[in-house]
């Protein structure tokens, strides 16, 4: 966030002869960046198409009309809906496991010491490596995808929750004790709200990871979803559709990240 503030706006501020402000850039520069990328994309496909005619199929001139066509096609939205549902289920599972485990890690030094190396070890294994085992154990279908997504997303949530507990203001806990709070009251009224900002940071990171893992996970053993749609487009030789799906995945991921940031900001604004 700080980089565009310091690099882009002073020049603009100087041009307009008033103090540099990030907002002064408006949507113009980001749009220019996107436009430039699209131009480069068009140029690259045009150059490649000289030798490999099929490359023209991947050009933005083909992809955007294909995207427009797909967006009004309920068939696509079924895939999008399924993918988003998997994101939601994976995230919910990761929260259900990560938050309690994170709290436990944060409050119990013994648990933290016992689990630390194991968690760091598991965290560094690409979730997709579990795919064959997940399919063998959970069967073909949604279950192994949920497992992979939850497994990928649980670490940032767990680690951020634990960090939040460790950073809890001791005086809040003292206050709770001075009010004779029960253990449940302390957790629900002090600990959980006190670590929510940290959990939301974890959620944001988790959504990013889930969205990245989702597409390859949906390429294995399922028959719907955005990952499946890409493979299906390839098999149908519908290359403009394939590019359109890639654009859509990027756009949806961008929206998801924005939603997570918005949630985080909203909570912090109150805090």
């Amino acid at each position: 966030m700080a980089a565009p503030l310091s690099s882009a706006s002073p020049a603009l501020g100087a041009a307009q002869g008033r103090p540099a402000r990030r907002r002064a850039a408006g949507p113009l520069l980001p749009l220019a960046g996107l436009l430039l990328a699209a131009l480069l994309w068009a140029l690259a496909t045009a150059l490649m198409a000289r030798n490999t005619p099929i490359a023209a199929q991947f050009s933005p001139q083909r992809a955007f009309p294909a995207l427009a066509g797909l967006l009004v096609d309920p068939y696509l939205w079924e895939h999008v809906g399924l993918s988003l549902q998997r994101v939601a289920v994976g995230l919910a599972c990761a929260l259900a496991i990560g938050v309690p485990a994170g709290i436990l890690t944060g409050i119990s030094a013994h648990f933290a010491q016992a689990s630390g190396p194991l968690f760091q070890f598991l965290r560094m294994i690409s979730p997709l490596s579990w795919m064959p085992i997940a399919v063998m154990a959970l069967g073909v279908g949604d279950a192994p995808v949920y497992f992979l997504l939850a497994f990928a997303a649980v670490w940032p949530i767990l680690l951020n929750t634990a960090a939040g507990v460790a950073q809890l203001d001791r005086n809040w806990l003292l206050l709770a004790r001075s009010l004779s709070a029960t253990r449940g009251e302390t957790i629900l009224r002090v600990v959980l709200p006190g670590i929510t900002a940290h959990i939301l940071t974890g959620v944001r990171l988790a959504i990013g990871i889930i969205w990245i893992i989702l597409v390859p996970a949906e390429m294995l053993g399922v028959s719907a979803g955005l990952g499946y749609f890409i493979l299906d487009a390839r098999d149908r030789l519908a290359y403009p559709d394939l590019m359109a799906a890639i654009l859509l995945i990027g756009f949806l991921g961008y929206l998801l990240d924005h939603a997570a940031r918005w949630l985080h900001r909203r909570w912090l604004h109150r805090a």
């Binding site: 203001d169 005086n171 809040w172 003292l174 206050l175 709770a176 004790r177 001075s178 009010l179 004779s180 709070a181 029960t182 009251e185 009224r189 002090v190 709200p193 006190g194 929510t196 909570w267 109150r270 805090a271």
Partner: protein, 271 residues
């Protein structure tokens, strides 16, 4: 000047005087986990509506003594009685104010003041009575109109006013205050000291105020207990009967101040 409050008070005498005594500590000792003693054989009693100042230098164990009396620390030896009943946990009729306001940043001013009133171990009060208490406490500390402000929007003095309101809303028999104003600037501190005296009189509460500030003790206290160095005990006790506002009687204040300074010198060099 009475000699040190070293004449041991038994629980029986405390109980027999329970109509007058809010809190009695009997032969209290406290040691850290490594065995080094903090204070030993401390006995004291606080009467209804009395403001008692526990005065001492940094690290003399006065905060630990307060926390022991408040039921937040378990003494190595001795007993605490609250309203004549032996008491080893924070009593519902006591309230605490710390050096930091320790407001919960996700709750607004009114919700911070309301915090804990509905906890399971607190006396049951009807919703209307609770709202009346909250409104009264907020008005009393001069923050009417700021009920919906977030803690982040408050100054240090305002935050401490909210903490005071949070304590008053519980209509405590006894208010424990651990250096509540030492983080404030001199002008705000003077305001808050006057406010504290006014409000505890209006709320008919007794106060145990821990402070290292001789002037604060003189301006606020009905009785001053001087704590010496480790293992500390109460060295001297003064009853202050200068009428409020005490700044008006400069001669009496100065005499008391010199007396305390002299005793302080004795306790640090002589003993």
């Amino acid at each position: 000047m009475t000699p040190a409050a070293s004449q041991p008070r038994t629980l029986e005498t405390a109980a027999s005087a329970s109509a007058e005594t809010v809190l009695a500590g009997d032969s209290l000792s406290f040691a850290y986990a490594d065995g080094s003693p903090v204070f030993s054989e401390v006995s004291l009693a606080i009467r209804r509506r009395e403001i008692v100042c526990l005065l001492g230098g940094s690290g003399c164990g006065k905060s630990t003594l307060l926390r022991t009396l408040a039921g937040l620390e378990r003494p190595a030896a001795g007993q605490v009685a609250f309203l004549g009943q032996p008491c080893s946990a924070p009593h519902p009729r006591s309230a605490l104010v710390f050096q930091q306001a320790s407001l919960l940043p996700w709750l607004n001013v009114a919700d911070n003041v309301r915090f804990g009133l509905d906890f399971r171990h607190q006396p049951r009060i009807a919703a209307e009575a609770r709202e009346r208490r909250v409104a009264e406490a907020i008005t009393a500390v001069g923050l009417a109109g700021r009920e919906r402000a977030w803690p982040a929007e408050l100054s240090g003095g305002q935050a401490q006013r909210v903490a005071l309101a949070r304590a008053l809303a519980r209509e405590p028999e006894l208010l424990f205050a651990d250096e509540p104003f030492s983080a404030l600037d001199a002008i705000t501190r003077a305001e808050m000291q006057a406010l504290l005296v006014e409000l505890v009189h209006r709320w008919h509460a007794a106060v145990l105020l821990v402070t290292h500030d001789i002037d604060e003790a003189i301006l606020v206290a009905d009785r001053i207990l001087l704590m010496g160095s480790r293992p500390s005990r109460i060295h001297r006790e003064w009853t202050v009967d200068i009428p409020h506002p005490r700044e008006a009687d400069a001669a009496a204040v100065t005499a008391l101040r010199l007396s305390i300074l002299g005793a302080l010198r004795e306790s640090t060099t002589g003993a």
